[in-house]
Symmetry: C2
Subunit: 198 residues, 2 copies
């Protein structure tokens, strides 16, 4: 059994190789063989870690989660609309790194929709994200930056609309970066936020 | 060589089998073996049609295109905002059939992002869709239903935002149908359109 340090180093190597495969080829290209080739290791070694395809996919989602939660995010001291804007900007593919991150997540959807367990995992992830965004929407209403509406449902709907808009923009920008340069993505987000204000 | 009628019947069988595999398992589950099993045919027979995985994926995209363009769509005699609304409703997963259609398209993105040719194909498809939506946005401005703006750029941005919102809503509704029942999707779309109006 390898020492702990070896184990951690190996895990980092595997994670980095998985990420490179996902960034280049997506989940459709994620195979033990591809990861082994990235590491210069044998497929046999990886079989030890990943007894089946689903184990490899679950691990890849863990890697994506870690990268996503470990990424640099915008900090703002303003609550409400400014915080909502910052949180949505954090999601958009405004940098090459953010584009890779998004490409991986968008690529994960096919497999997640096909597997009840992975689908539930993704559902919970997005519920968690919307719950974090909702805090900003509620604060914006509180501060009078967004119209006071008929109740909690409307705050939920505005939050869900913000999340949908951001994710759809991610998809279109990934397919058509020439038509969706970063400045246009930001302009579109700002126009939408402006349309919400009273 | 089979007679023309046989050929067409066989093509319909293959298309139906490909569609069932996509609906159940997504592009990640699309293999010659899976399609053959759906047809009760031999994998060898299908190798004749699809020399490699990419040929099968391209064919699957053709099938999805055919199904999408052949589906029943809402007709409206009102141009402008009403036509935009109808076109966006046509995209949302408001029925089981529309949910399957969307599940297939969302599932196609992983493979399309990984292949330059497929990526370009998808890019053009979405450009075409946005061009069709743009006609409605421009008509809505003309009719005074949307504010007259600073020019063509704004019409493009409003169109792109509507397309992004609809596609993001598709993704969230696919993962979380309990939280996104059809009536909520429609309510969110109507709120979106209402926020655009002067």
């Amino acid at each position: 059994m390898p020492a702990r340090g070896d184990h951690d180093a190996r895990r980092r190597d595997v994670s980095a190789a998985v990420w490179r495969v996902l960034a280049d080829r997506g989940f459709g290209g994620l195979t033990l063989r591809a990861v082994a080739a990235e590491m210069g290791a044998s497929t046999g070694l990886l079989t030890h870690y990943f007894p089946n395809k689903k184990a490899l996919v679950s691990y890849a989602l863990d890697v994506a989660d870690e990268r996503t939660s470990g990424r640099a995010v915008r900090t703002t001291h303003e609550p409400g609309l400014a915080a909502l804007r910052a949180a949505l900007l954090d999601v958009l593919p405004l940098t090459p790194e953010a584009a890779v991150m998004n490409r991986v997540w968008v690529g994960s959807w096919d497999g997640s929709l096909a597997d009840p367990e992975l689908r539930e995992r993704e559902m919970r992830r997005y519920r968690g994200w919307r719950a974090r965004l909702r805090v900003h929407v509620a604060a914006a209403v509180e501060r009078g930056e967004l119209p006071a509406t008929s109740g909690a449902d409307d705050v939920d709907d505005v939050t869900a609309a913000a999340a949908a808009f951001a994710h759809g923009l991610v998809v279109h920008a990934l397919f058509d970066p020439d038509r969706y340069p970063p400045e246009r993505q930001v302009r579109m987000l700002d126009a939408w936020l402006a349309a919400l204000a009273p």
